[in-house]
C-alpha cells in the first residue's frame, strides 16, 4: 500500500491461515499492511512469482484478480509509480490476501500464468490499461481497447475528454471538430454541412421561381 500508513494500524487479529502465509512471505522481503479486515503484503519485484506460489501452496489456491493502480497523483505518494496487486483467496471463499508489487514506468514483471491459467486475461488487462509488460506471458495483447488505439487509459496522465483520441497510423479523433460538425458550424469528421432534416431547404430556395429559370428570374 502506498503512503496510506496513517490508517494501517496492524492491531487486528489475523486468521491462523493468513498469519501462516504472511509468516512465509516476510522472509521474501514482504511488508505487511492491514486495513479493516484486509491483509496486503508488498513484496520486491524479483520475488513476486515465488510469493504468489507460496500463497497458493499455503491455501490461497485461487486467484480472483490481478489489477494495477497508478499512484502518480496520489497525494503524498513516494516510491514507484504503479502497483500491481494480486487478489488471492482460498477455495472456501472466507480468506483473502492481497500480494502487491511496486513497478516503475518501463519496468516489467514476470508472469504468473504458469501458476494460474486464469491470470491470462487479468495480466492482459493490466498491460492494456497501464502498459506494464508481463514477461513470459503466452499471449500478451491488449484486452479491451481497440488494437489500433495508442496509450494506456487507466494511467492518471491519460487525457480525459476534450482532447484528441489518438490511434496509431496517424488517425485521430478530435472532439472539438467532431462536435462542431454535429452543429453544422464546421464540416468536421462527418462532412455534414449543417441544416435541418433531409429534404428541407434554406429560405433562398423558396424565393420566386427559384430553380426554374436561374437567378435572374427571381427579380420583379
Amino acid at each position: 500500500m502506498s503512503d496510506a500508513g496513517s490508517h494501517t494500524a496492524s492491531d487486528i487479529e489475523l486468521a491462523a491461515a493468513t498469519q501462516a502465509t504472511v509468516d512465509k512471505l516476510v522472509p521474501l522481503g514482504g511488508v505487511v499492511k492491514t486495513f479493516k479486515d484486509m491483509v496486503s503484503v508488498t513484496v520486491p519485484k524479483e520475488h513476486i512469482v515465488e510469493a504468489v506460489s507460496v500463497a497458493k501452496e499455503s491455501g490461497f489456491a485461487m486467484i480472483s484478480d490481478v489489477f494495477g493502480i497508478d499512484y502518480l497523483t496520489y497525494p503524498g505518494h513516494q516510491g514507484k509509480r504503479f502497483t500491481v496487486a494480486y487478489n488471492m483467496r482460498n477455495p472456501d471463499g472466507n480468506g483473502r490476501i492481497f500480494i502487491r508489487v511496486d513497478v516503475d514506468e518501463g519496468e516489467s514483471l514476470p508472469t504468473i500464468t504458469g501458476l494460474f491459467k486464469a491470470a491470462n486475461f487479468m495480466e492482459r488487462e493490466v498491460y492494456d490499461m497501464f502498459g506494464v509488460v508481463f514477461e513470459g506471458h503466452p499471449d500478451l495483447r491488449k484486452l479491451l481497447t481497440p488494437e489500433d488505439f495508442d496509450g494506456h487509459p487507466h494511467r492518471k496522465d491519460f487525457p480525459l475528454g476534450e482532447t484528441p483520441t489518438l490511434f496509431n497510423e496517424g488517425r485521430f479523433l478530435d472532439p472539438a471538430a467532431f462536435r462542431a460538425g454535429l452543429v453544422g458550424a464546421d464540416p468536421g469528421l462527418t462532412g455534414w454541412k449543417g441544416g435541418a432534416a433531409k429534404g428541407a431547404r434554406s429560405e433562398q430556395d423558396f424565393g420566386q421561381g427559384a430553380g426554374m429559370h436561374g437567378k435572374e428570374s427571381g427579380k420583379p
Binding site: A4, M38, S64, K117, A118, E125
Partner: protein, 409 residues
C-alpha cells in the same frame, strides 16, 4: 507488433499458405454480430473438421471505461454507473459498489434497508437466471421456454419498476441505505410472485429439465472438472456445477446475508447440463431468501442517519440551517471517505463480483477496479470447448452465461 503478429487476422497467414502446402486447420470467425453470442463476443476458432482445436475470445467491443468514469464522479454518482455493467443483474453491482464504499466510510445500514436490498437482489438474480434459461435454450433451438421465462421476468421487472421507477438500470441503492422506502404495493406483488413462481419452475422442468432431447443434447458437453474450473478462475453457479460449493453469500456473508437460511446447490458433473440445471435450483433458493427477507421486514429507517453520508430529510431543511449546509455540501461535492483501500466480494448471478476502491481522501474515488465475473469466467470457454464439436460451442457460451457489458466494462 502488427495485428497479424497478434493473431487478430482471421485468415491463415501468408507463410502458412505458401511455406507449408497442407492446410490442416480452418480458422473461422464467429461474431461479433452473432445472435447466439449474447452481445458482441467475437471468437476466432481453429477447426480440424468439426473439432475445435483452438478458440480465442476477442473482446472489448463494448468497452466504455466505466472504471475511469467512476474515478471522475463522486462516490454517490458511481452507483449510476455500476449497474450498467451487468444489465441483467444490476442490483448485484449496485450492492457490491455501495458495500465497498460503506466499508470505507464505516456506515451503519439500517436493518430494513438491508432486508430490502437482499430481497431485491435475489429477485433480480431470479430475473437474470430466467433470461439465462430462456436465451440459452433459444440458442439450442428451443423457442418456447424463452416466452415462458420472459413472461415471469416481466412480473419481476414490474416489481422493480414499482420500487425504483425503472426496469433495468436501477440506481436505487445509496451509500448508507436506499433512495426511498418501498411502496406498500411491493409486498402483495412479491407475495403474488412467490406464490405463482414455484408452479412455473415445475413447468420449466417439465419443458426441458426432464426432456430427453434436452438432457442428451447437453450431457457431457463442455465438461469442466473441479481442478480445471479452479485453475481457470471460474466462479459462481458454473463453478458450483463443477462440484465446488463456493458461494460468497455463505462463505463470507455480506450485507446481512448471514441472517438467512438457504442451501448452496452443487452438481458434480461439471457439464453444460449441470450448469443449466443449477440455475433452476438456485432460483428456488433465492425464493427462500426473498420469503424470509420480506417476512422479517420491520418498519424503520432506510438510511444511515449519519449526516456525513445521507441527505437530511426534507422536513428539516425548512427550519435547520445545519441541515441546509449538509444538504448543500453533499449535493455539490459529496462526502469524503478516509484514505484507504477496500474490497468486498459478493456473489452475483455470474460469480464473484467485487469493487476494489482506493480512496485518497477526496470526494471522488482515486481508483475503482471492478472484479467482474463474466470476464474471468469467459476464459473457461477455452477448456470447455477444446476437443469438442463446433456445434457445442454455442451451448458452452450459453451455459457459462457471459454478459458482454460485464465482460467489457
Amino acid at each position: 507488433m502488427s495485428a497479424r503478429d497478434l493473431g487478430h487476422a482471421a485468415t491463415v497467414t501468408r507463410e502458412e499458405q505458401h511455406g507449408e502446402f497442407e492446410t490442416r486447420y480452418m480458422r473461422i470467425n464467429v461474431g461479433p454480430q452473432h445472435p447466439s453470442t449474447h452481445g458482441v463476443l467475437r471468437l476466432v476458432v481453429d477447426l480440424d473438421g468439426e473439432e475445435i482445436v483452438g478458440i480465442k475470445p476477442q473482446i472489448g467491443y463494448l468497452h466504455t471505461g466505466f472504471e475511469k468514469t467512476m474515478e471522475n464522479r463522486t462516490y454517490q454518482q458511481g452507483v449510476t454507473y455500476a449497474n450498467r455493467m451487468d444489465y441483467l443483474h444490476g442490483f448485484a453491482h449496485d450492492l457490491a459498489y455501495v458495500l465497498s464504499v460503506e466499508k470505507l466510510m464505516d456506515a451503519r445500514v439500517p436493518e430494513r434497508a438491508q432486508r430490502i436490498r437482499v430481497a431485491l437482489n435475489e429477485l433480480n438474480r431470479i430475473a437474470s437466471h430466467l433470461v439465462f434459461i430462456g436465451t440459452g435454450l433459444l440458442d439450442m433451438g428451443a423457442l418456447t421456454p424463452f416466452f415462458y421465462t420472459m413472461r415471469e421476468r416481466e412480473m419481476l421487472l414490474d416489481i422493480f419498476e414499482l420500487v425504483c421507477g425503472v426496469r433495468m438500470n436501477f440506481g436505487y441503492f445509496r451509500v448508507g441505505g436506499l433512495y426511498r422506502d418501498v411502496p406498500d404495493e411491493f409486498f402483495p406483488a412479491v407475495d403474488q410472485f412467490l406464490e405463482m413462481f414455484p408452479k412455473m419452475i415445475v413447468q420449466y422442468e417439465r419443458l426441458f429439465a426432464k426432456n430427453d432431447i434436452f438432457v442428451n443434447r447437453l450431457k457431457n458437453v463442455g465438461v469442466l472438472s473441479r481442478e480445471t474450473a479452479l485453475d481457470w478462475g471460474l466462479t459462481g453457479p458454473s463453478l458450483r456445477a463443477s462440484g465446488v460449493p463456493l458461494d460468497f453469500r455463505k462463505a463470507a456473508p455480506y450485507g446481512g446475508y448471514e441472517d438467512y437460511d438457504f442451501d448452496v446447490p452443487t452438481y458434480d458433473a461439471g457439464d453444460a447440463l449441470s450448469r443449466m440445471l443449477i440455475r433452476v435450483d438456485e432460483m428456488r433458493e433465492s425464493m427462500k431468501i426473498v420469503r424470509q427477507a420480506v417476512d422479517r421486514m420491520e418498519p424503520g429507517p432506510i438510511r444511515d442517519p449519519d449526516r456525513r453520508i445521507s441527505l437530511p430529510p426534507r422536513s428539516e431543511l425548512e427550519d435547520s440551517m445545519e441541515a441546509v449546509i449538509f444538504h448543500f455540501k453533499l449535493v455539490t461535492e459529496g462526502f469524503h471517505p478516509p484514505r484507504g483501500e477496500v474490497y468486498v466480494a459478493t456473489e452475483s448471478a455470474r460469480g464473484e463480483l467485487g469493487y476494489y476502491i482506493v480512496s485518497d481522501g477526496g470526494s471522488m474515488p482515486y481508483r475503482v477496479k471492478v472484479r467482474v465475473p463474466s470476464l474471468i469466467n469467459l476464459q473457461s470457454l477455452e477448456p470447455a470447448c477444446l476437443g469438442g464439436l463446433f456445434a457445442d460451442m454455442i451451448v458452452n457460451i450459453a451455459s457459462l452465461d457471459p454478459i458482454m457489458g460485464d465482460v467489457d466494462k
